[in-house]
């Protein structure tokens, strides 16, 4: 048996390292996919940018200037090499005579997006956990059905509809919050928070059901286990059983769903941004696609990929950290 435990003992560090390497590998594959997908897109930036003045000569000259005449593998290597050092190159779209750096376009928008995502997460994740535990405790009761019906209704409507309903109620009928979430970088944080209140509420309603129901399901699936019966036979009250005995064993599936929803807050909220005129990264990407601004598109998609990989990595680490078999080997 000692041999077996040696293998297990060696794995905690190895498992974590393995997850990190897998994450980097995933990013590498994704970067190739992003690059090829964009390279295969119909249309050509040079032609589009030159419009009516596009002659074969001018197109070739612009392509040469932008480096678009080089073979694809070479372009990929140059792009990924620079991106790995934080240099995403310059935007194709000329802002006056000076070309803007991609990082200058993206960074302020990314900060806004992370602010919105962060505040939403701070509200939605604890709320989802508490409601999940509550519905599990009161399973099949009126409260359980009401909460499930309400959250399911919220995700069943399109996001823009939820957004407009909230706007109508909380900005127009009862003007508590601003309906416009446009902001500038030098605003004080309190004002920023007041501005984003409605988008935060909208996004909370959108992601709440999934996390709450996963928490509920993860808890209920463990309520039949022997150790729960044993806890009941110790005379523990139901809430102590759920919080003290069930929840510590349920973190792994919950963390996975939370990670998935947090990633969505970064990569999937363009509709909400548009409704509230919020300067987030989703709008930036949509604009870049319209302009065929390849460096910006590539940078955005890569950031989205990193978000997914990092959040899933975190979920994996939580799953490992809450598994006593891995943390306390034999």
């Amino acid at each position: 048996m000692s041999k077996f435990s040696d293998i297990i003992g060696g794995t905690l560090g190895a498992t974590i390292a393995n997850r990190f390497l897998l994450g980097i590998y995933t990013l590498f594959i994704v970067s190739i996919l992003i690059f090829s997908a964009i390279a295969f897109l119909p249309g050509d930036y040079a032609k589009a940018a030159l419009g009516h003045s596009a002659t074969p000569e001018t197109v070739a000259a612009l392509q040469k200037e932008l480096g678009l005449d080089r073979p694809a593998p070479e372009r990929y290597l140059r792009w990924i090499g620079h991106a790995a050092q934080g240099d995403f190159g310059s935007s194709f779209s000329a802002g006056g005579t000076q070309r803007r750096l991609v990082i200058d376009i993206i960074l302020p928008r990314l900060k806004n997006t992370l602010l919105l995502a962060g505040v939403t997460a701070l509200l939605a994740v604890p709320l989802a956990l508490v409601l999940g535990v509550l519905t599990a405790l009161a399973r099949n009761s009126f409260l359980d059905r009401l909460l499930n019906a309400a959250t399911l209704t919220a995700i069943s409507f399109p996001e823009f509809f939820v957004a407009y309903v909230l706007m109508l109620l909380l900005a127009v009928k009862f003007p508590l919050f601003s309906s416009m979430a446009s902001m500038s970088a030098d605003m004080p944080i309190v004002e920023k928070l007041a501005r984003i209140a409605l988008p935060v509420l909208t996004l909370t309603l959108v992601i709440l059901a999934h996390m709450m129901r996963m928490t509920r399901a993860a808890i209920i699936s463990l309520l039949n286990s022997s150790y729960v019966e044993c806890a009941r036979l110790k005379g523990l009250p139901e809430w102590r059983i759920v919080v003290g005995h069930v929840l510590p064993n349920a973190w792994a599936p919950i963390a996975n769903v939370v990670a998935f929803n947090l990633a969505y807050l970064v990569v999937g909220v363009v509709v909400v941004e548009v409704v509230f005129v919020y300067p987030g990264i989703g709008q930036t990407m949509v604009d870049a696609i319209r302009l065929r601004d390849v460096p910006v598109i590539q940078a955005c998609t890569l950031i989205f990929a990193v978000t997914f990989v990092v959040l899933n990595l975190l979920a994996d680490l939580i799953a490992i950290a809450t598994n006593p078999r891995l943390v306390h080997p034999k």
Binding site: K3, I7, Y227, C230, R232, L233, K234, T322
Partner: protein, 555 residues
């Protein structure tokens, strides 16, 4: 009915009157039915006494035991009778009173401690949890008491074990820790629900001794639930025999063991009447293993070491050993699921490929397998006819009426009849399911069947029926059985030759009469010694014998 004055006397601890428990079941395609799980059972238990509840699965023994904690499992409902604990009716107490009872006055020791301990918490925290919750004492004192109990129950390094997590501790140790957990809040009554059933016999005897010592030392009363009469006979003052939720017989342990009155009790006491005359090895072996090494994880974990044995046509080779001895791995090697690292398998005069993928269809057909748990070895969405018919069309390419005829014939052979063709596995009893698995193996007309613990999930009388059937079929069709089991009684009933395995090695091998007769090697002696006997005082005698042996060894 006992006199009311007597039941109210100070000695009386638990008084269950006319208990009736029902369950709603929902058979597929039919409307719900109410079945009676416990039917009018009464029992009395005095302070400091141990009452054994014995019966097969479905007898209602755990259900009755749990009512003493005012607890019923999901789907069950108490519909009649009363349960009085120290003179108060605990079924009428309300949730608060019930919680005050559980874990303080009545404690529970579960069948599988490995599942009953929460994997996420340290053992010590779980052991003292109910003492702290009920305010019996403060943490430091509870922990001191727990560690003292660990020591008393014979756990090595009590302080270290206390700080460990359940998965870091062996099954036998967990069962003792669970007993300590029950004792920690100093209850008046402990319900032991099959506390040693999941353990190997050599571990079981140590746990039994520890539990017995703890009961005697603390004067706690106990309900001791088991399907094994030999075990209950060691622990209980009185025994209640239950069947189908009804009382069969109640009496002092001595009476039940020595003078059982009811036929069912007599059958339990006498046990299997299966007798099989050993046959001498004859001709060329049908299966021959030579120097098999095998393991998992690219040979990092070696499970089998230099295993050799022979099995002759029409005979049974029993491979016996405890969990971890490698006997199931041996089955996997022979079936080709785990290619051996070294060694040769000869089957019916030809070399067998190590890998399943390299074996011919005829190799596969002639070597069939029956698994321990029939429920999971069958597709729940196929009918019995489909399950048995599948090997017919797979190996012989037959179909239609020919298959129907063969399926009916096979159902006759397993003594079930063709009325079962359209049934689903969920509509069968445990014994019937295992019979269907036997029929499926027979359908391939094999020369060798590997039986992996085929009776260990079954009740003793049902298991006997399966063993009888297997022996009859062997007589008729001359198949060889490789019979993997941890149960020495089964080995005695059916084997021609025996291999005893310990830690991946064959420690003793030969004809049954030789292997099971002295002089023994140390391990076999300990193994055979540890099998509980239906004799009062057996446990004490073995423990005493071992103590004397170890004193002698020290001198």
């Amino acid at each position: 009915m006992t006199d009311a004055a007597e039941t109210m006397s100070g000695e009386q601890l638990l008084d269950i009157r006319d208990l009736r428990i029902e369950a709603n079941i929902y058979p597929p395609g039919e409307s719900s039915q109410t079945i009676t799980v416990v039917d009018g059972v009464s029992l009395q238990l005095r302070k400091g006494k141990v009452l054994g509840l014995i019966g097969e699965s479905g007898a209602g023994k755990s259900t009755i035991g749990l009512t003493s904690m005012a607890y019923v499992r999901g789907g069950l409902k108490i519909t009649g009778g009363q349960v009085c604990f120290k003179g108060r009716d605990i079924l009428k107490g309300g949730p608060h009173a019930v919680r005050a009872l559980r874990g303080k006055e009545v404690c529970y020791v579960a069948q599988s401690a490995a599942a009953a301990f929460n994997p996420a918490h340290k053992l010590i925290n779980q052991v003292v949890e109910s003492s702290l919750m009920h305010g019996v004492t403060h943490r430091a004192d509870a922990e001191r008491r727990a560690v003292a109990l660990f020591r008393k129950l014979g756990l090595p390094n009590p302080e270290t074990i206390a700080q460990q997590y359940p998965h870091q501790v062996s099954g036998g140790q967990l069962q003792r820790i669970m007993t300590a957990m029950a004792l920690c809040s100093e209850p008046d009554l402990i319900v032991f629900d099959e506390p040693t059933t999941a353990l190997d016999v050599t571990t079981q005897i140590e746990v039994l001794a520890a539990i017995k010592e703890a009961i005697r030392g603390t004067g706690v009363a106990a309900l001791y639930i088991s399907h094994d009469l030999a075990v209950v006979a060691q622990m209980a003052d009185d025994i209640m025999v239950l069947r189908h939720g009804r009382l069969v017989e109640f009496g002092a342990t001595r009476e039940i063991i020595n003078e059982p009155r009811q036929n069912y009790t007599k059958a339990l006491v006498l046990g299997g009447e299966i007798h099989h005359d050993e046959q001498a090895p004859d001709g060329v072996p049908i299966l021959s293993l030579k120097g098999i090494d095998a393991g998992y994880g690219d040979g990092r974990t070696k499970v089998l070491k230099n295993v050799s044995m022979d099995l002759y046509a029409g005979q049974t080779l029993a491979v016996a050993g405890e969990s971890g001895s490698g006997k199931s791995t041996l089955g996997r090697v022979i079936t080709g699921l785990l290619p051996p690292a070294r060694g040769a398998i000869t089957f019916d005069g030809r070399m067998l490929a190590g890998r399943l993928a390299n074996r011919s269809k005829d190799d596969l057909r002639q070597l069939q397998m029956i698994h321990q748990i029939a429920d999971v070895a069958m597709n729940p969405r196929q009918t019995v006819g489909d399950i048995i018919g599948r090997p017919l069309s797979f190996y012989f390419g037959t179909g239609g009426t020919e298959n129907q005829r063969r399926v009916a014939e096979l159902l006759d052979q397993i003594e079930m009849g063709k009325g079962f063709v359209d049934r689903y596995p969920s509509e069968l009893s445990g014994g019937q399911r295992q019979r269907v698995c036997i029929a499926r193996a027979l359908a391939a007309k094999p020369k060798l069947i590997i039986c992996d613990e085929v009776t260990s999930a079954l009740d003793p009388l049902v298991a006997n029926g399966i063993l009888k059937l297997l022996l009859d079929l062997q007589q008729q069709q001359q198949m060889a059985y490789l019979f993997i089991t941890h149960d020495i009684a089964t080995v005695r009933s059916i084997a021609d030759s025996v291999a005893i395995m310990y830690r991946g090695e064959v420690v003793r091998y030969g004809p049954k009469s030789k292997v099971l007769t002295p002089p023994f090697d140390d391990y076999t002696e300990r193994l055979l010694d540890s099998v509980p006997k239906k004799e009062i005082g057996w446990l004490e005698r073995v423990i005493e014998g071992r103590a004397m042996q170890s004193t002698r060894d020290q001198h």
